[in-house]
Amino acid sequence: MVSRRDCLRMAAAGVSFASVSGWFGSLAAAAQKHPERKRSCILLWMPGGPSQLDTWDPKPGHANGGPFKAIQTSAPGVMISEHLPGLAKQMNHAAVIRSMSTKEGDHNRATSLMQTGYLPQGPIRYPCFGSLFSKELVDPHSEMPGFVSIAPATFFRTGPGFLGPQYAPMIVGGGPVAPAKPEKPDADAPQETAPDDFGPPLKVANLGRPAGVTSRQAEARLDILKQLDRQFASGRPAPPIASHLSAYERALQLMKAKGSEAFDLDEEPQNLRVKYGRNQFGQGCLLARRLVERGVPFVEVSLSNGANALGWDTHVENFKAVQSLSETLDAGFATLIADLADRGLLSSTLVVWMGEFGRTPKINANNGRDHFPLAWSTILMGGGIRGGQAIGKTDPDGMRVAARPVAVGDFLATICASLGIDPTKQNVSNVGRPIRVIDPKASPIREALA
């Protein structure tokens, strides 16, 4: 007897009842003919709501424009903030979307909206698109994880939602899963390496065997464990046990040299590391490139700290903070694009830059800017993107979208199209209702796609 649960599973597994939507058809056909064209995605996530007028959509002639100057870029007619000079040279690869328009100005809700495509409401736990897309792109036989999140912000995070913890990101560098280290070093504590002059090291929590355990001991332990598990599992076929054993096997594989060497930045030439920037974000971009090279389909790098403790959430002293953040951003982001291009990886890697909303064009009494979702900017670069252009525009005062408004669904649909993912694919949600990867009402920004 096939249960209701099985029915829904089969429906999600690919027995799609909807016809392939028009716009996807041609793109998919192209991708399918060349399977190697399935792309990877690097998401540069800017929590707090970065100010668009001080980065990608400058208004130098207007009172709202603030003190920053605008500079020319390698994209004719497109000018950006003077504090992003490295990126200015790479704008020929970029499509700047200046007409993002959403309605949500609350951090938590806006983060959910931008990362899942939906506002948090009702019982459905929507997955973030990192989980959603990596699920479609990941090679199940690869020992590398499908979704890695580097130095994520510690609050307002979305997760794998109804896809389950299998699709949660592997977190590198920070986050609550970092083990608590003892306050004072004692004889048994692992030897701390000299402080990295590239910022706090980016490590996968618990990837290394504890220093107090010898390798022989670790092997002996695993041997005892194997015996216990073999005895218990034999005669008890059950999904939780099978999943447990499989996770341990994959974890052990990852611990072995091949899996963990991907995370070792010491392999990279020193001068390249310096170009990316002596900070967690810059090194995170470098790590993202390494991971993409090794087949990880989705990597998220967050830039949430700056001189200003609020990061991009610059209600107070906006310009000092944004200048500092821009310097960090520029080094990491521009070097990443150049590095990907040098290695021939740019056409197969989509780089997305976004926050959860923008900031008010009118400068407030604290020389800051507040939340502003009505007209803001995001960037798409690299794989599948027609670069060198700005899409949409805002009014001279930045207060409204003047042309080509873009909603979150369309934005995500564009990413989906670039990555070669079937938007009609369904997953079973936690309420049993199948949910399509992309809301069927959305359509990608055609002019952004090459």
């Binding site: 007897m1 249960s3 209701r4 649960r5 938590n108 009702g122 019982p123 736990r125 510690t154 609050f155 307002f156 997760g159 939602g161 389950g164 913890p165 299998q166 949660a168 592997m170 977190i171 609550p176 899963v177 083990p179 608590a180 280290k181 996968v204 929590a205 618990n206 504890p210 107090g212 355990v213 010898t214 022989r216 001991q217 092997e219 002996a220 332990r221 695993l222 005892i224 464990l225 015996q227 216990l228 598990d229 218990f232 005669g235 008890r236 076929p237 059950a238 999904p239 939780p240 999943s243 447990h244 054993l245 996770a247 341990y248 974890a251 990852l254 936690n430 309420v431 049993g432 209702r433």
Partner: protein, 542 residues
């Protein structure tokens, strides 16, 4: 092992023993009667399907499983020892009674119920903080053994005693459509929310019916403490249409109030919901308790009662529902009755491929542990206090705590909460193998439980190994396991092979260094402890 108090009646080829009441129990007591009825109904299907059930679970299996199901934790080593060594045949019943009388039961079941009623608080850190008062109220009512119908009614109405139940409305953003979807799914077992936007694709629910139910909560958004008492106002417009509907129950009947001036719609809804004549409420309630104890509901998924999704044992479900009503929705009664059944007492070992069909209940299920359970089990096993205060983490401050509970809650949180399909991730495996907290607990001289085991003066090596097993797996090692572990420990554990092969004299000189040998032995015991903590047997409920 257990002798029957009454002579066996006709036994069928399969499941004959299962239709006997548990030995030693008074034959007339209602718990026994219901348990026997459960066994009869379940065994009848085994006969139909020609399935041989698994053998009965031994004491250790029953002990650990029941502790986890009722209290959300494993027994301590001494609780395990006591139970295993207790003579007599009524100890299982007494265990269930003891566990239901203990405060861990309302804490655990309030947690479970909260997770069902307000799943949003599982992942939203702000809601998590606000849930504290709500959970306290649930715990109190369950501890007082308030009927499930009273709890549901108090939740829905603005009963001042359930002041903390306001949180329910808050978590649903005070929106009538969210409240309707929730009430339907949680208390009626009906997933009506598909019908919010269009007629339900599989079931018979129409869009109009959804909004008629939602109309009971009309004005919820603007309430803010005010109590609408006018049924006339319980009306809503279906979005994107001009259609106005008034509050109607799901079976189509119209709410009537005795005094039209004072007719709070939510109270009428609560009354209809919990009325004995309501076919959904009692069944949904009984089904949820069954699913919690047996791993799978008689209707599966538990909140999807539908014509196209019939119960596996319709008569049994009716029986349990009727019993619930008769016992005034006493949750403890149902727990007692189910745990007293032979069906509950089956082993999770599979001896026949046909036992794989979960809907036959021919074998006990294996379930993953919920994060709170895992935190409790780990804390207890390693001897760390389970710091529950660390749970309410301020979402704006990065978690520097590193406490075991916060590590576990973050790492193991799962929005797909069906435990029989529970999944382990690589990050979880890495944390259990390599994290600082595990390293500390398995290193001699640092871990609390391990230290107690190593330092107990009256134990020999075999005794210490037994203690480690009792603290984690709640059982004693088998003869084979003990032999293997003893050999490992007495040969110096992992470092045995590294000892150079010298002549006998030198060998003796080395081994007379008692402190060195002892510490190798301690490390070896720590290795065994580590393996126990990482084993699938420890990390599942079976």
């Amino acid at each position: 092992m257990q002798t029957s108090a009454a002579p066996p009646t006709e036994s069928t080829a399969t499941g004959g023993a299962a239709s006997q009441p548990q030995a030693g129990a008074p034959a007339e007591d209602p718990v026994t009667l219901v348990a026997a009825a459960i066994d009869r109904q379940i065994a009848a299907r085994w006969t139909e399907e020609n399935v041989e059930p698994s053998p009965a679970a031994d004491d250790a299996e029953f002990l650990r499983r029941t502790f986890l199901n009722i209290s959300g934790r494993i027994p301590t080593a001494s609780e395990a020892q006591q139970f295993l060594d207790e003579p007599g045949t009524v100890k299982r019943r007494r265990l269930v009674d003891r566990l239901l009388a203990n405060s861990a039961y309302p804490t655990h079941w309030a947690d479970l119920l909260r997770s069902v009623i307000v799943p949003e608080a599982n992942t939203d850190p702000i809601l998590q903080q606000q849930a504290e008062g709500f959970e306290r109220w649930l715990r109190r009512r369950i501890a007082q053994n308030a009927g499930y119908d009273r709890i549901a009614a108090e939740l829905l109405t603005d009963n001042p005693r359930s002041g903390d139940a306001r949180f329910y409305f808050l978590a649903k953003a005070n929106k009538p459509e969210n409240l309707a979807a929730s009430v339907s799914r949680v208390f009626l077992g009906v997933r009506i929310e598909c019908a919010q936007c269009h007629n339900h694709p599989f079931a018979k629910w129409r869009r109009e019916q959804f909004w008629q139910l939602a109309a009971f909560f009309a004005g919820a958004e603007t309430e803010m403490g005010a109590r609408p008492s006018d049924l006339q106002l319980a009306e809503l417009t279906i979005p994107d249409t001009g259609k106005r509907v008034s509050a109607r129950f799901l079976d189509g009947s119209t709410p009537i109030s005795k005094s039209p001036k004072h007719a709070p719609p939510k109270e009428l809804l609560a009354q209809w919901l919990t009325a004995p004549s309501n076919p959904y409420f009692a069944r949904a309630a009984a089904n949820r308790v069954w699913a919690q104890l047996m791993g799978t509901g008689l209707v599966d998924p538990v909140d999807d009662f539908d014509e196209s999704n019939p119960p596996s044992h319709p008569e049994l479900l009716d029986l349990l529902a009727d019993e619930m009503v008769r016992q005034k929705y006493d949750i403890r009664f149902l727990i007692r009755a189910i745990c007293a059944s032979r069906t509950y007492e089956l082993s999770s070992v599979q001896t026949d491929a046909r036992q794989a069909n979960r809907r036959l209940f021919a074998r006990a299920s294996v379930k993953g542990l919920a994060p709170a359970e895992l935190a409790a089990c780990l804390s207890q096993a390693i001897g760390e206090p389970d710091d529950q205060s660390g749970m309410e983490a301020n979402p704006f401050i990065p978690d520097q705590n590193g406490s075991l509970r916060s590590l576990v809650m973050e790492l193991f949180k799962n929005e797909n909460v069906d435990p029989v399909d529970s999944e382990t991730t690589i990050l979880q495996a890495l944390a259990l193998m390599n994290s600082h907290v595990i390293e500390e607990s398995t290193a001699p001289g640092r871990g609390t439980t391990l230290a107690a085991v190593l330092d107990a003066p009256f134990l020999d090596t075999a005794g210490r190994i037994e203690m480690l097993y009792l603290s984690t797996l709640s059982r004693r090692p088998t003869a084979q396991e003990l032999q293997r572990h003893l050999a490992y420990v007495e040969h110096g554990g992992a470092h045995a092979a590294s000892k150079p092969k010298l002549g006998n004299v030198f060998q003796q000189m080395i081994t007379t260094d008692k402190s060195k040998t002892r510490s190798d032995r301690d490390i070896a015991l720590g290795d065994i402890f580590w393996a126990l903590l990482n084993s699938s047997e420890f990390l599942t409920n079976h």
